[in-house]
Amino acid sequence: MIQTIDISSYSVITDAIRSEARRILSDSTVSAVIGYTAGRRKGSTQPIVITTADEADKLLFSAACLNDLVVYLTKAKKDVPKSGRIGIVVKGCDLKAVIGLLGESQLKRENLYLIGIPCSGVLGSLLKPSAELTTKTIASKCCECTDRLPVGCDFVPAVTPAPLPDLEKRYANEISQLEAMTPSERWEFWKEQFSKCIKCYACRQVCPFCFCEQCLCDRNRPQMVEQTPRPSGNTAWHLVRAMHLAGRCAGCGECERVCPMDIPLNLLNRKMAKELKELFNSEAGFEVRDTGPLTSYREDDDQSFIR
């Protein structure tokens, strides 16, 4: 049974974000605030960087605020002004990216003014931005979320989000279904998915953790991954990306959301997260740490697979 989700708190949150942004920009606590603003199409939103207090009324928060704005803080986005302290609107999932990047020395906590959002969920896709938020249209990542009230932020609107109805854990279910298949069934599934890829790199470009100055897959001396969008090179590309994110990806799900060809990319990342939790009891995005599961080791790590 499809239920509507109560997002009446979002208008209160919008007002709170605006007044806070106005305050921190007028008294120069920050030099800019990265948040969401309305788009042309009804219900749509887009990221915005405001630098003056009178732009504060452009900010808003709604169920269409899907973007992980943390990507704008990374060195991949050199054109976003980064002098002084920057304010940024973060949902619980986005905050995990901040925590990860702090650990990797990509961000400095004192340069950030975190505006946390008590979140009741966001849409899974912006193909219909004015869609109502229901248990069907809600993003798959929201179904498994444990961080609706972000902790450790500099400002959080004093709002308690309404409790959510029981949501089916979609990623966990899909992963179990795939794990229950035979290897050749799984291969057929992923072969079909990877054949759809047109190498637009939207997945890489929106990812806060893909901030390499030159991606491995853009190098040709040596060329480890083919550039052309053919099934072979596409498979290599997605495997390499999943490995480079393993232990770092905090599950914002943007890669899957932005893929124009509907490839279920977050399944790979969630599977790796699950394995790393089981193998090494490690989860990304909960505490600032300068090593991850794949940059550290224990002498008694499992080696049952090694002869």
Partner: protein, 166 residues
């Protein structure tokens, strides 16, 4: 127990990624001791298993490998102190990813072979070769290379022949 009929006309290509200080030396010892083992294995020498990037394994499958061996120093014996510890974690994760994609993990073998273990090298290589021989050629990645996704189903028999020969 009657085992799977070996395909005598199929010689699997086994690529071995080994570390210089232990496994390579162990393979050397097997050679100087004149131990016989299948010549299907092609050895790639790395300074340390910690240097082995999962992308090399993907590339090896794409280029026609039927089986992969990754072998290095026993934990605690790494010439670079901790390289094999990092490799151990990395490959524990990577094999889960490959399994999730649908690669049969029986084609990939990890081992610790020290410089003194010529005999163990021979065992590991022989077992892997025979296991992969029974499984047949690894067609999954090669099929992907042949997939002509976008050009409207162009059928090019000459190209087919080139890749078949690969």
């Amino acid at each position: 127990m009657h085992s799977a009929k070996p395909r005598h006309d199929f010689e699997p290509k086994i690529i071995a990624f080994v570390c210089t200080w232990c496994t390579y030396a162990g393979a050397d010892l097997a050679g100087t001791s004149r131990m016989q083992y299948p010549s299907n294995v092609r050895v790639l020498k790395f300074p340390c298993t910690g240097r082995i990037d999962p992308v090399f394994i993907i590339k090896a499958f794409q280029q026609g490998a039927d089986g992969i061996l990754v072998s290095g120093c026993h934990p605690g014996d790494c010439h670079y102190i901790a390289g094999n510890y990092h490799a151990r974690r990395r490959f524990a994760a990577f094999r889960k990813l490959l399994e999730f994609i649908g690669v049969d993990l029986n084609r990939i073998q990890f081992s610790w072979v020290s410089a003194a273990e010529g005999g163990k090298w021979v065992e590991v290589v022989t077992d892997l070769t025979e296991r992969v021989r029974a499984m047949g050629p690894m067609v999954e990645f090669k099929d992907l290379i042949l997939e002509e996704q976008w050009s409207g189903g162009l059928n090019n028999p000459e190209l087919q022949a080139v890749y078949e020969a690969m």
